[in-house]
């Protein structure tokens, strides 16, 4: 069998390894268009913080890892896929043939439609290359404006703050991390950031960026609230979009991302997709969604690879699970954190100490959660949601005191023949 994988991020790498596990002989080609060895975007913040060197971001630490596994790494961009003839065309003029293809090309940042985005000193924070630019400009004392305080934005914030820059954050939504956190939690995160000396504008847009004429802070950023700020670096973290352009005309159906079924197969037999680029069924709603997070990339890659290798594995549906460290305040969110029709919820807030817990139920099943400050045994929230564990009388107890989630989990799972299924 001849496997080709487009994209060498976590999804691509895990899929390649899973394929290798099922057969030592098959040919596996892993194509990536970045110059570095396969690395993890997620580790970039820790690179910015100086906790690790570039090598610390590499997905596999052993330099011979891929060679030892006989996985061929190709540095090139796939420009076109021809499913009829089972070929992938590369930007270096070469083509590769495949028997089965996995598309794991991830996503990339979208620049907001404002004037001045092409000026020097404006970067997304997405690739290793981006991070090198940022590290050059984000020196101690520099003024940095970050557009967007979404999930990724909040993670970068931590890294930037640790570099000792003066930070300004501008977010369109009415709170921080609006697409992952409840009002209560997002509001508290904003309060926390302000307490830590970060200037935060919510419900505010960047309208334009111009040259300021000031050599230390060459950029002038105009905000929708009328203010103008001069800064040395603008980081654009306003959202990402799946890398699907090269599939135009291939017949592989895309919507926001590449549409896949529960085996991660696209509409074209033998062609699969996984990770940030895939649009798969959501666990609870069943609606198709792109779930651009690391654990999803890992799960989907394994399922795709197992199916490609002829084994059967089905996704239960993808679920958003996030954990964030915003300047030391740890938050997490799971599944239908915003609640579902006909469901009910409980919320416990300790504003002074930045503790927060919000659980969403449908009947006696947990469907979503948001927390601040919870770091022990958090995973059981995933276990409860994805295991669709009936909480019975424990739900009433959780409504009264959501912090007893671990007890509820143990009570409802230990001793029975509970098994958490994928």
């Amino acid at each position: 069998m001849n496997y080709v994988i487009i994209g060498n991020g976590p999804a691509g790498v895990i899929a390649a390894e899973t394929l290798r596990q099922s057969d030592p002989q098959d040919s596996i080609v892993l194509i990536g268009d970045e110059l570095e060895p396969p690395y993890s975007r997620m580790a970039i913040p820790y690179l910015l913080m100086g906790d690790i060197q570039e090598a610390g971001t590499y997905l596999r630490k052993d330099a011979n890892h891929f060679r030892n596994l006989n996985i061929e790494l190709l540095v090139a961009r796939a420009d076109k896929v021809d499913p009829t003839n089972k070929k992938v065309f590369l930007n270096n003029g070469k083509t590769v043939n495949y028997d089965k293809l996995l598309i794991a090309s991830g996503s990339r940042p979208v620049a907001p439609p404002i004037t001045g985005m092409n000026l020097p000193g404006i970067y997304p924070c997405w690739t290793m290359e981006d991070s090198r630019h940022i590290m050059k400009l984000a020196k101690k004392g520099a003024r940095v404006l970050q557009m967007g305080a979404g999930f990724i934005g909040c993670i970068i914030l931590e890294a930037l703050a640790s570099r000792g820059v003066e930070l300004i954050v501008v977010e369109m939504g009415n709170r921080m991390v609006p697409r992952m956190m409840t009002e209560g939690a997002g509001g508290l995160i904003k309060k926390w950031c302000e307490k830590k000396g970060v200037k935060v504008f919510t419900s505010t847009k960047v309208e334009a960026i111009e040259k300021s004429g000031n050599s230390a802070n060459p950029l002038k950023v105009k905000l929708s609230n009328g203010e103008s700020l001069t800064v040395g670096l603008v980081i654009s973290a306003t959202g990402v979009r799946p890398n699907t352009e090269f599939l135009k005309g291939s017949g592989i159906v895309t919507d926001v991302g590449i549409k896949v079924d529960e085996t991660m197969q696209t509409n074209v037999p033998g062609v699969y997709a996984a990770g940030d680029v895939a649009q798969a069924q959501e666990f609870y709603t069943g609606a198709q969604m792109v779930n651009a997070i690391q654990p999803n990339a890992a799960d989907q890659a394994r399922i795709a690879a197992l199916n490609m290798a002829g084994k059967s594995a089905r996704s239960q549906g993808t679920m958003a699970i996030n954990v964030l460290n915003t300047l030391g305040l740890i938050s997490s969110s799971f599944g239908q954190w915003m609640g579902v029709a006909g469901g009910d919820h409980t919320e416990l807030v300790d504003e002074d100490n930045f503790r927060y817990m919000h659980l969403e139920f449908k009947d006696d099943i947990l469907v979503g959660a948001t927390s601040l400050g919870l770091t022990q045994h958090v995973g059981v929230i995933r276990g409860l949601i994805q295991g669709k564990i009936r909480l019975g009388e424990w739900k009433d107890l959780l409504l009264k005191d959501p912090t007893r989630i671990m007890e509820a989990y143990l009570a409802r799972t230990q001793g029975s023949n509970f098994k958490f299924a994928a």
Binding site: D350, D401, T403, R404
Partner: protein, 615 residues
Amino acid sequence: MAWHKQVLRVNLSKGTCKAEPLNMKWVQDYLGQRGLATKYLVEEIDPKVDPLSPDNKMIFVTGPLTGTMASTGGRYSVVTKGPLTGAVACSNSGGYFGAELKMAGWDMIIFEGKSPKPVYLLIQNEKAELLPAENFIWGKSTWDTEELLKKKHQDPLIRVSSIGRAGENKVLFAAIVNDLHRAAGRSGVGAVMGSKNLKAVAVRGTKGVTVANPKEFMKATIAAKKVLADSAVTGQGLPKFGTQVLMNVINEIGASPTRNHRDVQFEGASKISAEAMHEKRPTDGKANLVTNQACFGCTIACGRISKIDETHWTVKNKPEYWGASGGLEYEAAWALGNDNGVDDLEALTYANFICNEDGMDPITFGATVAAAMELYEMGVITEKDTGIKAPFGSAEALCKFTEWTAHGEGFGKILGLGSKRMCEKYGHPELSMTVKGQEFPAYDSRGIQGMGLAYATSNRGACHLRGYTVASEVMGIPVKTDPLTTDGKAGLVKAFQDATAVVDSTGLCVFTTFAWTLNDIQPQLQTACEGDWSLEKLNLVGERIWNMEREFNNAAGFTAKDDTLPKRLLTEAAKTGPAKGKVNELGKMLPEYYKLRGWTPDGVPTKETRQRLGL
């Protein structure tokens, strides 16, 4: 290290919390926990102070082995001047709270003054703050308090030590309860906490505890744990039966005070014994006992966890009491049961739950009810006073009295004074079965002579935990002596008192001494602590602590006259059992005891003694 060398000083009047270094010089002389905190107390307060005034201080203290892997190393004590006795009060508790305080980096907390408004202390490692308790946990039981604090601070692992309504109402035998059913129980330490408007101490500690010589310490603790496991008492009897293992034993030797010490054997003992707790009830087919439970680090696990029969009249319409909770220990079973002639196991369990829930010492409470029942039977008080028919044997009266005292209602307000003040009020001080104002525990000194001396000379009033010669006189630990004679008892009492003072200062549980001697404890201390902790030094520490406590009491106004027993025990002979015809012969033991202690005939440490001990 075994000590964090950190004291938290909380001034409730000013609302301040300050860290200060632990006096390591005193540590060398007084070790920790009981000894060390008492040293602080005697140095810092006027012995004549009114225990419930702001000038009294209250100290929560751990020992060097608290929070370590030494078996039972989870204890803490509350040291203050006790309102029940006016003597030094030192009440020791297990559970998890003490270890948590240690994990947070504190050896002790000194509370001084009085808060203008009800507050609680929250400790999260080095962070300590006083927070308002009003409209939150004030007025709540200890159980609700713990639950509400964990919820408010969103941490199920917070450990809480608090007073219930009894402490708020300054019931003179109010306890401080931690972990739902462990208590610093005796001498009214809870009333002192209440008088300071301090509702609770909530602690979460993540700093941990280190020891001086980890490898050797592990070896020493493993060896010592084996001794506990191999002993019939700590390895078999206590885990299976709890301290209740004693109910039948003590009754058989005719040393079970019954109906306010009128009798020395209780005909209903077998119905409320450890064995009875194991028996399946005819009503629901379940046993009263659910399981045993350990305190932090304890490899004995003597704790009782019980469930009351849901159909029993005490809880029929109260599902909130259907869950498992702290069941009967021997002292509580005896005080609520034998001493009142009540043999209804479920009713006793209920009364015990309430004592835990609102923080009362079941020994003093039970014994006070016993005195009230005797007054009632004598016609001194009537249903008009008590609000319910209250003859000996009435489980109903006992349970009502428990609720009323816990909640500060009706006759409960009078019971809340303890038996001494109550009996004085009704003109019969002789009916109060107390020494220095504190009620006896479950051993009648007519049948166990040495205990008479131990009670009479105990520094915190009548108490079994200051010198438990029962071990020798009944169980033969470390050697068997005859419970009916006074020979050698003075020396025995002194030895037990001094050794116990050491154990109480380590962070370990005194129950280990059913199997351990100081020879087993010393290597654990030596490897955990910096400095020299030889046996000789420990023996001296024990004696020093005892004499320091004695001197405080003397300065508080106690004299040799107070080293006595109620008339009943000295003049009314035991009616049945092996001790039939016997009274306690305190007079035969006391002079010898004073001599052995190096005290004057008036019970005052001589100059030589003081010098020898470095006082």
